[in-house]
Amino acid sequence: MKQPKRMALIASKGTLDWAYPPFILASTAAAMNMEVGAFFTFYGLTLLNKKIDAKVAPQTNPAMPMKMPFGSQGFQNMEWPIPNILANNIPGYETMATSFMKKTFANKGVATIEELRDACLDSGVKMIGCQMTMDVFGFKAEQFVRGVDIGGAATFLEFASEADITLFV
């Protein structure tokens, strides 16, 4: 059997929208018989928590289309231009935007982050938590899902040095 392709990812963001790309790519690469390693650093570390509490942050994504997950198809397709000055100041706006995004994703048949992460774990994706960021933010290995390794830059680079695909998310 030929040597499997290898993909090395860095997941550095912990918002709901940015939680998708690393888990989509990792689970799909594993399904395509690739060997996958994902290094979770900075806010990406929160994606290793047993319970993921990721939210979208519309204030930091001014181009994010704001759509309603209910009503007629025409209503759902409408874009609601919410100026940043409002998005930054309405209490609970982030929570509302998060629940709308989750609902829209579910309506469109998109998997949840937890489902994709489970697919990654079941298919042997190697997940590495960044030890330095864990120290800085006070993360403990026990709060992470099973099977997470702890390491640093050298651990990732050793794995990535043999990779065919390397991505920073």
Binding site: S27, T28, A31, M32, N33, K108, G109, V110, A111, L116
Partner: protein
């Protein structure tokens, strides 16, 4: 196309990327070599994605057809 025989069916209608790929991969793993799986999807991305998946995993992509927004694929496990 419609008279092409197959051994198993997988319904991925209503699912979006990457679920049709993940489910296909899981299902194909349970098949015997030479068995044919019929997959139905509704996401247009699956047309390219299932061909890429087949190529990468070295399974045989037999055919693809479309009927009223439903894409039907036949893939043979090698």
């Amino acid at each position: 196309m419609s008279n092409q025989p197959y051994h198993h069916e997988l319904d991925c209608k209503g699912l979006n990327c990457p679920l049709p790929i993940l489910k296909t991969n899981k299902h194909v793993k349970t098949l015997q070599s030479g068995e044919i799986l019929k997959i139905e999807t509704t996401d247009i991305g699956s047309i390219n994605d299932l061909q890429s998946w087949s190529k990468q995993t070295e399974n045989e992509f037999i055919s693809y057809s479309e009927d009223e927004g439903v894409y039907t694929f036949l893939i043979k496990k090698t």
